[in-house]
Point group: C2
Chain length 176, copies 2
């Protein structure tokens, strides 16, 4: 017994248009014929990458996440520039955040992070055959690169040290 689930767009309101966040409040028609409002964040999409070094270790990034109020350990990641293809973006973000250039990348998943209130999707890649170089983060971006074995990563997943959703999916789906 499958109920009708789809909600139909009636009208849009742009309630906040910030530097980072675009907030919309749409009016929709529910499956039961009633109207409801849906508040959500328009997001350009992003990439994340599991960079596997030639010695088998994985390059991770440590950074301060202001909304969480703490320093986190994550896989390198970043937002798509306007019109940018995900596989170009992953090469750019990997270089910017870690300094590495990859000779081989493959996409392993595309995920939605917060489907209840955002259209953000993250394209997840594995990068291999890496060549070291200079990192070049954005001016307002403060990042430390750290390298871990797959055993260390799995320990930090189990004990909660790694608790970022995209990083968990990336590491668990990369079949390290």
């Amino acid at each position: 017994m499958s109920k009708e689930l789809e909600e139909k767009f009636i009208k849009a309101e742009h309630v906040f248009d910030g530097q980072l966040l675009k907030v919309r409040k749409d009016t929709v028609l529910l499956p039961n014929g009633k109207e409801a409002t849906r508040e959500w964040i328009e997001h350009p999409g992003a990439v994340a990458v599991v960079p596997i070094l030639n010695d088998g270790r994985i390059a991770m990034v440590k950074q301060y996440r202001y909304p969480m109020g703490k320093v986190t350990l994550e896989v390198p990641a970043g937002k798509l520039d306007q019109g940018e293809a995900p596989d170009k973006c992953v090469m750019r973000e990997l270089k910017e955040e870690t300094g590495y250039t990859a000779n081989k990348i493959r996409k392993i998943a595309t995920i939605g992070t917060t489907m209840a209130f955002s259209n953000e999707v993250i394209h997840i890649y594995v990068a291999e055959d890496l060549v070291e170089g200079e990192a070049c983060p954005d001016e307002d971006e403060f990042i430390n690169v750290e390298k871990y074995t797959k055993e260390e990563l799995h320990t930090m997943i189990k004990d909660g040290t790694i608790d970022d959703a995209k990083s968990l999916v990336a590491i668990l789906m990369a079949n390290l």
Copy 2:
């Protein structure tokens, strides 16, 4: 060589206070002494649950996710009510969305979904020893319950049918 990473709060601005979304724009002091703004979503936190039925199948929910513009297959989940403990919330959401009551729950992870722009954390549980009952979704919530074997879930993870971040983490960390 570990750089200083922390950003310090200077002042807050509440730029949108909706029914669902609370949007903040804070001014912060960066590690390099400069100021920057941080736009982010205040979120009450949520729970998600992998309900393992007595026959070994897992109860999943199908619903329309307006920001994504599509019907998704996810583990049951929902936001914390004000002051609600996660283990109470998980029992409530499981009952509301699927009708099941669990005699046994255990927490397997707490994750951040979008650390760059939200403080949302999701407490992930496994629920077992389930007793069937009537679902009682919110008035504006349209949900179909479907049951899958662990093999079917892993196939749907590999082929991208399941692409919701919290559901992927929940299924992959539940050791089904």
